[in-house]
Point group: C2
Chain length 260, copies 2
DNA sequence: TACGAAAAGTGGTATTGACCACTTGGCGAG
DNA sequence: CTCGCCAAGTGGTCAATACCACTTTTCGTA
């Protein structure tokens, strides 16, 4: 744990005691209160600004921001994602079976095709409304004794960490447009061939091992991705002069209002 | 232009003279060669690492990386996006008309509903294959005398900067799944109701003025979004211990291979 | 020759001190 | 009372220096 990380967490604690819009102590004040150099403070605040917890105003101060709506292109769990929108996340496990892996999934998960695999199909709810259907594939050795109810009322990632000691550190997700199949339509309660997002995600643990492959279908009529864009610097220099003032675009998702 | 930005650009120039995988001079060497402090060097390199131009290896050196496939959730033009994939971008202007604005668009563009608007419909090509159809809406006062051919063989953003002196600094883009309409199917050469991405984008100039509202339909069978994910820090601290080692997920798009 | 320890070089973190640019609020002149 | 200026406080940038952690190379020893 570096001082910078420690500082970040201490400021994070500090933020919890404040309300949105309030200013945190100035950088020079924090230097004294926390006993670290201003550079360290700034590096820690940089992180928190990047993550959307703080907003700096040159010449004025540093303020607590509205909690971000969401950052679906960050490694967040469905539960956290929905909670952040003020909705109650839910989950109904439709099926939990142990199967063999097969060639394609074996490659994705980087395990032997003979390995045993837990396959979980579940419905994700937001305020008891169906939002997405997802199918998880997890090597059985990683989650022995996993049951249906384990997955009902908590984040799978929390469970992984607390019971199995597996900490997620990264992942890759692809996004495609698609339309719902017959099964998906029925489960989600939408007409056949409704537009939807298809997310495919593999996540990686601290150890470097691939933990899961997930295939999710999100209702296109209720889920939308929103990205704040910033220009990029180009290596060939053509547009370099038009360099960014705004940096680090944020990503977030929104729920569409019913009547849009 | 701060020293840090100047340093960044000088390193960027330096990178152009190297090939992928080669090491750039060490930070201490750069300190001397460029005559700035190591802190400044590091800040500049931080930027370039974030943008994917460089890769740091602790104890070893800093290396030039493979140019990123793409970063579609960054403010990049279609032309740049396609070029980066080694494809030849193209554009066919299907229609260019001046109309009045209407209430909904007026709100989006923050102009009077009576303002004149240039509406451009065009087909975007990659290697002469239809990739997307887009409709641009631009207040006419910003781009007087714009013609069809202006838009054919160059980036619209380049044109804006060079001829009209308008520099784009940020934007917002929403992404939804949809299916192609009759017109879109015909123009793109795909069956009716093919899954597609609907992008809606508004871009903002240096002046703070909204420059354009764009609605694009991307073929779902050829265009895919890929995001590298990293965990986030949470303000309520529950999972904070599992903090990220990997930071700053990159986003990129991929073209699907034909036979997938 | 093969191995292992040491040294040299690299990026990673941290401190201290300084100055600049911007915002804000108070005070004085009109 | 109002306006404009100015000073204080804030974040933004930069320098010089030090030490740590890691990688790579070198070189001496077995």
């Amino acid at each position: 744990m570096t001082k910078q990380e420690e500082t970040r967490d201490r400021v994070l604690d500090l933020i919890e005691g404040l309300s949105v819009g309030q200013a945190i102590p100035s950088e020079r004040q924090l230097t004294q209160e926390l006993g670290v150099s201003r550079l360290t403070i700034r590096a820690a605040l940089d992180d928190l600004v990047r993550d959307g917890h703080l907003d700096r105003r040159h010449g004025s101060g540093t303020y607590v921001t509205e909690p971000k709506i969401a950052q679906p292109l960050t490694l967040t769990s469905f539960s956290d994602d929905m909670r952040r929108r003020g909705m109650v996340p839910g989950s109904r496990t439709l099926e939990l079976v142990v199967t063999s892996t097969g060639a394609r999934l074996a490659r994705r998960l980087q395990v032997s095709p003979e390995a045993r695999l837990v396959r979980v199909k579940r419905l994700r709810l937001a305020d008891d409304q169906p939002m997405a259907m997802e199918v998880l594939h997890i090597p059985e050795v990683l989650v022995p004794g996993l049951t249906k109810t384990d997955l009902e009322d908590r984040s799978f990632y929390e469970l992984l960490e607390e019971r199995y000691g597996i900490v997620i550190v990264s992942g890759t997700q692809s996004i495609e447009p698609t339309v719902t199949s017959e099964e998906e339509s029925e489960v989600l309660g939408v007409p056949l061939h409704t537009p939807a997002f298809l997310f495919e995600r593999t996540t990686v643990a601290e150890s470097g091992r691939i933990v899961e492959f997930v295939r999710s279908i999100y209702r296109g009529d209720r889920y939308r991705l929103v990205a704040d864009l910033t220009p990029q610097r180009s290596r060939n220099g053509r547009l370099r002069a038009a360099a960014a003032k705004v940096r680090n675009g944020e990503r977030r998702a929104e729920l569409k209002s019913e009547g849009e």
